[in-house]
């Protein structure tokens, strides 16, 4: 699959352009919606899912952000292409068919627009999404809300006066909205403050996950913080609450970084330069190693200990050093040990083109 044909290659959200982009990688807001009159995706038959898809396809032709976009029939793609889309955060694990034994569903598709995207026949018929670089909740909300209004004006949604937007899983009922911020918190992890912060989040109706959402491991000190409840508060209230808390977490992270520099400057500096050195010269890297060292280098750039490296390059490395991306670059299927070697080579090349120097 030629991903360069996608708007922004599908990685515009990595360009480190938004607010607090050194700490917050990206902001995502998604809305779960279902089309009235059909069983929800997991219970629907193939014919129903295909009709949902054709109804959405027809409506999308009239919607500005999707008109010039690209429709990918995920159920017609080979495994490697589906994995590539998943690694690029363009489709969920469930839509790509990697979640559970059912595999990829007939009618599974993604519509990639200018600055919004739409998954069709995920757990819900529709998952509308806006993904932005940096801490940009208001911009993401404006984009997804507009798409929702336009699409809902053409396709009848399942809506209930008391329960709101109806979804396959009751954890999404109501607004159907999940707003999340992907944030890098190495300072809080190193100062061992992170457990307190995470426990605090859960007490106030927020939750956290790893780099790839629900069920994924926390790697490289990246945490996705999002609203846990979707019913009983308005979309704006949920977003404001998340924004306030994330601002506080960013302050805490900055404070932790100052403490690290003050109390353990030399130790920290040594650890981070060693991380950089490993990435520059290693001949084989596992994904976890790469993530952890990249986290260190990212922290070093944030602390201005290393200069000459852009946050954009570091963001891109997170995505491009995953197995399907590496296989795609090498032009063939790779064994596990070949993946580790290809990863080390890719990281070396990316970092040598932007040589980091002592800040």
């Amino acid at each position: 699959m030629d991903l360069s044909l996608l708007p922004d290659g599908g990685v515009g959200w990595l360009d480190a352009s938004g607010d607090h982009a050194d700490i917050v990688l990206s902001t995502r807001i998604r809305l779960a919606r279902n089309v009235e009159g059909y069983a929800f995706t997991p219970r629907a038959r193939d014919g129903e899912r295909l009709r949902v898809l054709s109804q959405i396809r027809e409506a999308a032709q009239h919607l500005r952000p999707l008109q010039a976009g690209m429709l990918l029939r995920v159920d017609e793609l080979p495994t490697l292409d589906r994995q590539l889309l998943h690694e690029r955060h363009l489709v969920s694990k469930e839509l790509a068919g990697f979640d559970g034994p059912a595999g990829v569903r007939t009618g599974a598709a993604v519509l990639l627009g200018d600055d919004v995207s739409l998954m069709v026949n995920e757990e819900d018929h529709l998952r509308l999404q806006a993904l932005r670089s940096g801490f940009e909740l208001p911009a993401a909300w404006r984009a997804v809300e507009q798409l929702d209004q336009d699409l809902g004006g053409r396709v009848p949604y399942a809506f209930h006066g008391e329960f709101g937007f109806l979804t396959a899983c009751p954890t999404n009922t109501g607004t159907g909205m999940r707003a999340s911020v992907l944030i890098h918190l190495p300072g809080l992890v190193l100062t061992k403050e992170i457990q307190k912060v995470l426990a605090g989040l859960q007490q106030i109706g927020l939750t956290y996950r790893g780099l790839y959402g629900e069920g994924s491991e926390v790697v490289g000190n990246f945490f996705q913080i999002s609203n846990q409840t979707t019913l009983g508060r308005s979309e704006e209230e949920l977003i404001d609450h998340l924004a306030q808390v994330v601002r506080r977490v960013i302050e805490k992270e900055e404070e932790a970084r100052r403490v690290l520099l003050r109390d353990a400057g030399t130790t920290v500096e040594d650890k981070l330069w060693r991380a950089y050195g490993t990435l520059r010269y290693a001949r084989s890297l596992t994904f976890e190693e790469a993530m952890n060292y990249l986290s260190g280098v990212r922290l070093a750039v944030g602390l201005k200990l290393i200069s000459g490296l852009s946050v954009y390059t570091l963001n891109k490395l997170l995505i491009f050093c995953q197995p399907a991306h590496l296989a795609y670059l090498e032009g063939r299927a790779l064994t596990e040990s070949e993946v580790h070697v290809a990863r080390a080579r890719y990281v070396r090349q990316a970092l040598s083109s932007e040589a980091g120097t002592a800040g």
Partner: protein
């Protein structure tokens, strides 16, 4: 190195303790460390669905006033309990009483206060998709032996064909 406490598993935690001014080092396995109240790693991401299923398990979903199955998609309370997913929008009506309680537990609330939604006027909808939907519903109604509903749907379909 073996855990200094159980002497069975590999030590993965290096615990530094300060007792009456003296520093001691203790090498422990994950289990023994946890028993001493030491956090050994960042907790795995919190799974909402895990909590949710637990809530479903704890609660019998056959609250009086609920139907035992949904007339539209045929999903039963048992299906819901095992998958944690509702079959269609009509399930919300069929299992309304127990769902209200479940939603209150999950969200602390069971009433939507966010955006309201007005569906598009029927004349704006594609006739083809309406016909497709009616056919699906007719097939389900026949399978569920709901013949009155099936007759009504068949009559509605005739107005389009």
């Amino acid at each position: 190195m073996l855990c200094e406490n159980c002497k069975e598993r590999d030590a993965v935690v290096n615990l530094t303790q300060v007792k009456s001014g003296a520093v001691t080092q203790l090498h422990l396995c994950e289990k023994c460390a946890a028993e001493q109240g030491v956090e050994t790693s960042v907790a795995s991401p919190h799974s909402q669905i895990g909590d949710f299923l637990q809530a479903v398990q704890q609660q019998s979903l056959t609250v009086p006033g609920d139907q035992s199955s949904c007339h539209f998609c045929g999903a039963t309370t048992r299906d819901f309990r095992s998958s944690g997913r509702l079959g269609c929008a009509r399930c919300y009506g069929a299992f309304e009483r127990s769902l209200r309680e479940l939603l209150r537990r999950l969200h602390g609330n069971s009433r939507h206060t966010g955006r309201r939604y007005e569906p598009p006027a029927p004349e704006l909808l594609e006739q083809a998709s309406l016909v497709g939907q009616l056919k699906d519903r007719l097939r389900r109604a026949v399978e569920a032996e709901q013949f009155e509903l099936a007759a009504e749907l068949r009559d509605r379909l005739r107005t389009y064909e």
